[in-house]
Assembly symmetry: C2
Homo-oligomer: 418 residues x 2
């Protein structure tokens, strides 16, 4: 097994070759897409081994996330090509000033350098992360989870072949072979080798990164997302949006966990909600949603009484905490205390309340009359994403190409002194 | 003495009042400028006490940095008014997309929240930091050094009066009364109260922040700045630029510490440099610059032989390390190893070398044919600055109003589900 430190050294050393050959970036991405398709059989064989080894350990959802098919590999290759077609984020002049003394100052976007990502289960993250990093001019260090090790290794082989096809060093995409905690910890401390570390996985991983990382780190993921149904909301649409946000894919970070309902409509709306999320879903053979009700909601419909902490949990399951609130201000105040700053929505026809909500809710994505499920790089038009930041520094929300760039000031003069 | 924690709580609680009264920001800044002038006598009296108490402890440069005069206070007030006149950084739509499903997604700049700054000696930082934070929509926590305590407290009183004059809570500008290490450490750990911490001071403070901070922190300051004199440089201008970069104000972070000279011109240029920085300065009654020479330079001129580490020191003094290099590539390679990523310059008439240097030197500010001393918020047209970042995440180089903002995505729909 190759040592993590050696991979860090090699990747850092490979970076100047990319800087010097920017014009080959898209050719490399095309070659990577072609290799993913032409090496599909190797990738599928490796993936079958991963799936076999995991079957006894994990549940169905996890196995589904892990499993690759020819269609999914075609989707990965298609994703690579879509990233290739996006505008180049490097070299954008973000601000230009010509000073009275004649200096021309250009704030210009540049790559961060070496971007590292620690991720879990889904093998498609391997190609998404690699191509987003390369397209934005960065080298990348990939450290996937043990359960997908063979799949990730096979995908990285295809990526390496694609890079070589385009005349770029394979070491631009460093693949950490050690899947123990120790290698993740080593990445967190790799000062001088990693310019940005993105942990993309469970709450434990993210906490470990933000508490221990010595390299710059972006906090991603945890989503306690709220939907507030205002007094003026279109209730039919509200039911559609809530069911979608809660139940279309409960395991993801942009799924709704908490519903807040304006007191003026609670008596009319909550019985409809209960029917929609429980009996109607059961009748369709869908998993019903368990409702955890605060005292005011429990006076109107039946459900599980909310326990201590039920409004501060990322369920990632068919469970929805429900509270009745006095008005938009009360909803905003609740969200200020309980939201993780990921995605929160107001459903309303009242423009003033919409404006207040979008101004005062301090989250990465704030929605008016739409499902929180759209917080996603693809849905935002960024191609794919490196992760979803829930912090406010540097990047917020889905991280695409621009967020993988820094900037520098380039100043041109003709002898100016101060 | 007020407890640091209580100040954090009050400042955080005051923030929504600013968010709700954005339109009063400029009026508050005008009122602060007026108060700085009308309370000038109190500020000067407090400053005299600081200066008296410091006279036995510090050298002349430090005393000069600490001392306020009516002119300097007028300059502070003028600086406040200039910030008021800058464009509002809040609410800029940084990117807008209308998706095929009808969602309108606006990436919109928003304040960070509470910005804290730990700084040393110069009292004008108190008003600069406060007004940059307020103008960009943030509350601010100020923690100055002990030697300027009375001056800072008097300036903050004027700022508080100005805020109250404009109908805003004084607590928007929190002033830490405890100037012990303990209060700085408490700020570094104030998760939930501080959205961004900026240490602006010596290398020790900055190291302590980057190693121990649990809140987001920007690495500022340390500048081992290089100037490379290429074979084609205009040598007369090069002498002017080098003398300016080294000796106009050696104690600041954008001063030059290292000179690299192309081998083809070293024999002609170094004797002129020596004369310019030593005997000519002495003849004018100026402090001569000590030259620390690598082996190749020492074969051409006399000076102190460079010792181990002399090319990795921020002298902040009338000392310049000098090396002869083969060419622009060698200069770039030297800078890659020894620069702190602050400001580096090439002096050349060769466009290809200028392009290569600006592309490959990975520093916040990269200059062609100008002094490194321009790396400064005012000189870059940002009004003043909160600090100069030498990291690549979030902000790089002088931090002005835009760098004190984050962004959020505001998404408007009409019932979209995924």
């Amino acid at each position: 097994m190759k040592k993590t430190h050696d991979i860090l050294v090699e990747t850092k050393a490979a970076l100047p070759a990319l800087t010097a050959s920017k014009e080959r970036k898209n050719a490399a991405l095309e070659a990577i897409a072609a290799r993913l398709l032409s090496e599909q059989e190797d990738i599928l064989a490796a993936n079958r081994e991963d799936v076999e080894a995991s079957r006894s350990k994990y549940g169905e959802v996890m196995i589904d996330r892990l499993t690759l098919t020819p269609e999914r590999i075609a989707g990965m290759a298609q994703g690579v090509r879509e990233v290739a077609e996006l505008p180049d984020p490097e070299g954008r002049v973000l601000r230009r000033v010509e000073r009275p003394n004649g200096l021309v100052i250009e704030k210009t976007s540049v790559p961060l350098g070496v971007v590292a990502i620690i991720y879990e289960s889904r093998p498609n993250v391997t190609s998404d992360a690699a191509v987003l990093a390369l397209k934005s001019g960065n080298a990348v260090i990939l450290r996937g989870g043990r359960e997908a090790y063979r799949s990730n290794a096979a995908i990285v082989r295809a990526i390496h072949h694609g890079l070589e096809d385009a005349g770029l060093p394979a070491a631009l995409v460093g693949f950490i072979e050690d899947t123990d905690h120790a290698s993740a910890d080593e990445l967190m401390r790799a000062v001088g080798y990693i310019d940005l570390l993105i942990p993309r996985g469970g709450a434990g991983l993210i906490r470990r990164c933000t508490e221990n990382a010595k390299v710059p780190c972006i906090q991603t993921g945890t989503g306690i997302c709220h939907i507030f149904v205002d007094a003026t909301a279109d209730q039919d649409r509200a039911l559609d949006i809530i069911e979608n946000a809660k139940a279309s894919r409960p395991s993801v970070c942009n799924a709704e966990e908490v519903l807040l309902v304006h007191q003026d409509i609670a008596e009319a709306f909550l019985p409809r909600l209960q029917k929609r999320l429980t009996s109607e879903r059961e009748a369709k053979g869908l998993v019903p949603v368990e409702l955890r009700l605060d005292e005011r909601a429990a006076r109107i419909i039946t459900g599980t009484p909310a326990a201590e902490g039920d409004f501060d949990r990322e369920y990632l399951d068919y469970i929805l905490a429900v509270a009745v609130v006095d008005d938009a201000d009360a909803a905003i105040a609740h969200i200020a205390v309980h939201s993780t700053g990921h995605s929160d929505a107001i459903l309303t026809q009242d423009e003033a309340n919409a404006a207040k909500f979008t101004a005062l809710v301090d989250s990465a994505a704030v929605y008016v009359n739409a499902s929180t499920r759209f917080t996603d790089g693809g849905e935002f038009g960024l191609g794919c994403e490196m992760g979803i930041s829930t912090q406010k520094l540097h990047a917020r929300g889905p991280m695409g190409l621009e967020e993988l760039n820094s900037y520098k000031y380039i100043i041109r003069g003709n002898g100016q002194i101060r």
